[in-house]
């Protein structure tokens, strides 16, 4: 019986059906239109990045079907926003006049919706865990999906807005601490959703949303106290196509490391409760310890792979911008520390076969190291990475 359903699932992912053709066509046409519209601002490297992104997106949509509707909705909303700006003469103040922009999809509004939805999702996930309600869990998941959509729309529209304010300011929104925080929460949420869908782990949602909500809290403080959301032009060192690939790769790493830490937290709590009362309802509702342990591994492995790429890309960019691929700059050095930390984690797990509690603790502490590399370096250490000082 079980193998029956398994093989059905198996058949489904293998076939290359009509849906995939439509999907590929959608991505290709969309990319070509974008290239036609904005290609004059792009150099050859950026053309190549666009091409690679299109291929990557086609692959991702096939690998993870649920990403297809997300892409479509994000595209439609972003195009609607861009179109509305155009109708208002491409002035930034349109975000105060046009209804859609003002309340929904100007970058600032979209990001505020995202913030609100993430926090609501955390509450709802925990409520679902408490109520044992499948329905509430579904509501929470829907909230995370919507938050991710709003976040992506916010980023796309912000990208356009930077050009509307002043063509010279125009840049992809992954260049200030404020912008990368949005990237961080969106990527973390999407990666989490993938695993939730695959392993049916809705009860972990609240835990993962803890990190996301903390980041949202930071975004809110940064917005209201420091006005960090104001779009600023780029310093010369950041004007490079390398940024478009280096930063996202880095944040896939940060995102997965955060998820691993939160799964680690859930693991530790579950293990503790289980020790006291093996038949507790909480333990039954949580995923099995083995699954959580494996999820930690999967996230760290994925993150480690992308973090490796990001660090190498960073070194190559440094070679082009500063004249040396490695300068022991604090940000660089902390990236190495993070990398070494997870390399050690993976060695211990793979070769020594450690599992469970110590690895969960280590994943949790790893998040502290990661957070310092991400945030602490900007706060406490000076160096060549000049973006986003607090």
């Amino acid at each position: 019986m079980q193998s029956e359903t398994l093989s059905n699932h198996y058949e489904e992912t293998k076939s290359f059906g009509l849906r995939d053709i439509v999907w590929a066509a959608f991505v290709i046409i969309g990319s070509l239109l974008a290239w036609d519209q904005y290609g004059h601002n792009m150099d050859v490297y950026e053309d190549a990045i666009l091409g690679a992104a299109a291929i990557g997106l086609i692959w991702l949509g096939r690998f993870w079907r649920s990403f297809q509707p997300v892409t479509v909705v994000v595209t439609l909303l972003s195009v609607l926003a861009i179109y509305t700006y155009a109708k208002h003469g491409n002035v930034i103040t349109a975000n105060e006049q046009a209804f859609f922009l003002k309340y929904l999809i100007s970058s600032q509004s979209a990001i505020m919706w995202m913030n609100a939805l993430f926090i609501l999702a955390m509450v709802t996930y925990f409520l679902a865990l408490y109520q044992r309600s499948e329905f509430t869990g579904k509501v929470a998941t829907t909230m995370v999906w919507s938050a991710a959509v709003f976040g992506l729309v916010g980023m796309m529209v912000r990208w356009r807005e930077s050009y509307i304010i002043n063509v010279e300011y125009g840049h992809i929104p992954v260049s200030s601490l404020y912008e990368v925080f949005i990237l961080f929460v969106v990527l973390t949420a999407l990666i989490y959703l993938y695993y939730e869908q695959k392993y049916k782990t809705k009860t972990l949602g609240g835990f993962v949303m803890l990190v996301i909500s903390a980041a949202v809290g930071f975004i809110l403080w940064y917005t209201f106290d420091r006005e960090a959301h104001v779009i600023q032009p780029l310093v010369p060192a950041l004007k490079s196509w390398w940024m478009k690939i280096h930063v996202p790769a880095n944040f896939i790493g940060y995102g997965t490391f955060s998820i691993a830490a939160m799964v680690g937290l859930a693991y530790l709590i579950t293990a503790k409760v289980k020790e006291k009362n093996p038949n507790s309802g909480f333990v039954k509702r949580m995923p099995s310890l083995e699954l959580m342990d494996d999820l930690m591994y999967k996230n760290i492995a994925l993150g480690f792979a992308f973090f490796t790429i990001a660090t190498v890309l960073g070194a190559m960019w440094a070679a082009e911008a500063w004249g040396g691929y490695w300068s022991w700059d604090p940000k660089e050095t902390w990236a190495l520390i993070v990398w070494l930390n997870y390399a050690a984690w993976l060695h211990i797990r793979m070769s020594k076969g450690w599992r469970g509690k110590p690895m969960a603790w280590w994943a949790l502490i790893g998040l502290l190291v990661t957070t310092f590399a991400f945030l602490g370096v900007n706060m406490f250490l000076s160096g060549l990475h000049s973006y986003g000082e607090l």
Partner: protein
């Protein structure tokens, strides 16, 4: 590991050492040590002056930290040692594991006995109706369709084992990641200054620590083309060229001769409308005997010039010796007689004055001084920054070596709706500048100020003016009158020497306590009367004819107050000279960073290996399947259509939760295909 014991002819001690080097415990320990060292290197500011460390930590701890190499962690011997052990450990691990892994990659283990198969982590058995040959072909086909490579082994007893192997690149992943670490380290080593360290130890290389001209740098600090890797910088003024490079080395520097000449035609900074710099660019011409045509290129941040295995980067900028046309105003002279001075940034000018000899070092010229705007200004202009105009930075040093550093602005700036020429002074680098605000006159010039100042300094003129303003009355005898005039005169001298404080000080010293109040009031009254008289005379000279102070305009009143404030602080301004910047010719220099990095491509190659290896390691899983086929025994009545007994066994070298279900799925496929 088994083959190791077989070949093991090596003495035991060596084995123990190798085991230790290749052990996981050592590897993880090294990784952790490297992390901790890196943390220290970022938390503790590196490569600062020894002095700064002593201030921060006290002499004892500064010494302790220094001997541990904590101030130059990334060059410290123990840090290099950790790296070397990392290299050794990885190499040993690779050499030890690779043969086994290669064997494992090739091996199908098709000869495993049925018993062994039944002991594999996954196994199951079933019977098919078809005969052995049909089933065997089908199994091979199904496995291959699932991405397995297969090998068939027929046994003497008539049974057949089909062994499948998938994802053997996982093993390559292990090999790639570890070899890549070695490759990256080798690349980094090629780019390190190990060779220079060696030359320094053997004594034929001595870094230069003094700031001297290039010609004076001794040969022992020069490097030629034999130096294979370097990263240094040089400042080239616009219109000039350079074929040398300065490499920072320990506490000093080395001079690297380049096989080409770089000429800087022009340097530009572009700004955004916010006042932030948008771009730095240099127009370069590179000439070399090896080139028929010089290379002409504009470099910018993120857009270097590559020539052979050299790369030239835009890294900084500065003043390239701007020409300065100055006027030096003596501040204690009784007549206005500024002297002209033609000089340039980076020059030192000796200055002989009645109050001693000085050396003036012109350190910098700034064309723009962007300062944040106030809130009202922001509301008015919409700009976040405004430009305070050009300034010069220079030091005046007396014969004893004491120096005052100045920052003088060329144009006046608006403060509380009045225009002032700002000049800042400090005696310590760590202090902020204290500013003297010279009020501008109605023509927005400093002319009136220096006229007024000279007048105060001039006792002869003073006497004349005081006598005019304060004629001798009937009741005063000649002697008293002369005393009164002289008092005013002396008050002026005191004021100029030490400001209003000087007058108070004089009273405190010379007047008995009980009379101080009265005398003080009288003296300050006289002082202000004297100053006002002098000011009125200045106004008269300018052509205005105010009969009394009542007719002085508000502007002039305010100016008078501001002038007194300024003059009052001149005694704290250092040597009494004011350097006025009359005109200039701006010459910038561009800071080029030039590197030769033969290890770069090696490091990139290693990095590519690392990335590929990591993906193989995490996303390719090595799996084995064995399908043992035997003539079914319980064929009974239909002997001609004998079925086949099948045993399927599987092994995943990294058992995962999905291993089980995947095995079931495969078994399911094998079963359905046999119906």
């Amino acid at each position: 590991m088994t083959q190791e014991t077989v070949h093991s002819a090596a003495p035991r001690k060596q084995r123990v050492l190798l085991d230790f080097l290749g052990s996981m415990n050592l590897a993880v320990t090294l990784l952790v040590m490297l992390s901790i060292a890196s943390v220290i290197g970022t938390v503790l500011q590196q490569n600062q002056a020894t002095q700064d460390y002593i201030i921060k930590f006290g002499p004892f701890w500064a010494e302790v930290f220094n001997s541990l190499g904590l101030f130059h962690v990334y060059g410290a011997a123990w840090f290099v040692l950790v790296l070397v052990f990392l290299l050794l450990s990885t190499s040993v691990c690779v050499t030890r594991n690779t043969p086994g892994f290669i064997k494992d990659m090739k091996q199908f283990s098709e000869k495993l006995s049925l018993k062994a198969l039944q002991h594999q982590p996954q196994h199951t058995e079933f019977t098919s109706k078809d005969d052995l040959q049909t089933e065997q072909a089908r199994v091979v086909k199904t496995l291959q369709a699932q991405g397995y490579k297969t090998k068939v082994h027929a046994r003497d007893d008539g049974s057949v084992t089909v062994a499948g192997l998938k994802g053997r690149w996982n093993r390559l992943g292990y090999f790639f990641t570890h070899v890549s670490i070695v490759v990256i380290c080798i690349g980094a080593l090629l780019d390190s200054n190990l060779l220079l360290k060696y030359r320094e130890l053997t004594g034929n290389l001595i870094p230069e620590t003094r700031t001297i001209s290039l010609k004076e740098v001794p040969q022992t600090a020069w490097l030629g083309p034999e130096n294979t890797s370097f990263r240094g910088s040089v400042n080239v003024p616009e219109g000039q060229k350079s074929d040398v490079l300065f490499l920072p080395y320990e506490d000093g520097y080395l001079v690297q001769k380049l096989p080409f000449m770089v000429e800087v035609k022009d340097f530009r900074i572009e700004y955004y409308d916010t006042g932030m710099p948008k771009n730095y660019e240099s127009d370069l011409v590179l000439t070399s005997p090896e080139l028929d045509e010089p290379i002409v290129k504009t470099i910018a941040v993120n857009h270097p010039l590559y020539y052979k295995n050299y790369a030239i980067y835009q890294s900084s900028f500065g003043d390239g010796g701007s020409l300065l046309n100055l006027k030096v105003h003596p501040l204690l002279s009784p007549v206005e007689n500024p002297i002209g001075l033609q000089t340039a940034v980076n020059k030192v000018e000796p200055l002989k004055t009645p109050i001693g000899k000085f050396n003036v070092e012109f350190n910098d010229f700034r064309l723009f001084n962007m300062v944040p705007t106030t809130e009202e200004e922001h509301a008015k202009t919409g700009k976040k920054f405004h430009n305070n105009g050009p300034s010069i930075i220079f030091k005046v040093r007396n014969e004893q070596g004491k120096a005052w550093e100045y920052e003088n602005y060329m144009s006046p700036s608006l403060q509380e709706n009045r225009w002032f020429y700002m000049t800042g002074v400090r005696t310590m680098n760590s202090e902020p500048f204290r500013y003297l605000f010279i009020p501008a006159d109605a023509k927005r010039q400093k002319t009136r100020f220096f006229k007024f100042l000279a007048l105060i300094n001039n006792p002869v003129e003073n006497t004349r003016i005081f006598k005019e303003a304060f004629p001798q009355s009937e009741q005063t005898d000649d002697k008293t009158y002369a005393l009164q005039i002289r008092l005013m005169q002396q008050l002026m001298t005191l004021f100029r020497a030490k400001g209003f404080d000087g007058i108070s000080e004089f009273i405190n010293k010379n007047v008995p306590e009980e009379e101080r109040q009265k005398v003080g009031d009288y003296y300050f009254g006289q002082t202000s009367f004297a100053l006002q008289s002098l000011f009125l005379d200045v106004l008269k000279q300018e052509g205005a004819q105010p009969a009394s102070d009542a007719e002085v305009s508000d502007f002039d009143k305010q100016w008078f107050e501001d002038a007194l404030t300024a003059i009052n602080t001149i005694p704290h301004y250092g040597p009494p000279m004011y350097f006025e910047l009359e005109s200039f010719k701006h010459i910038q220099s561009t800071g080029l960073q030039i590197t030769k990095s033969p290890g770069k491509d090696v490091v990139y190659f290693g990095s590519a290996m690392l990335i590929i290896g990591v993906f193989f390691l995490f996303y390719v899983r090595q799996k084995r399947i064995w399908v043992n086929l035997r003539q079914a025994e319980n064929s009974g009545d239909q002997a001609d259509k004998a079925g086949t007994d099948i045993t399927v066994a599987g092994k995943d070298n990294k058992p995962l939760p999905e291993t089980e279900t995947e095995f079931e799925r495969l078994v399911h496929l094998l079963r359905t295909s046999s119906h």
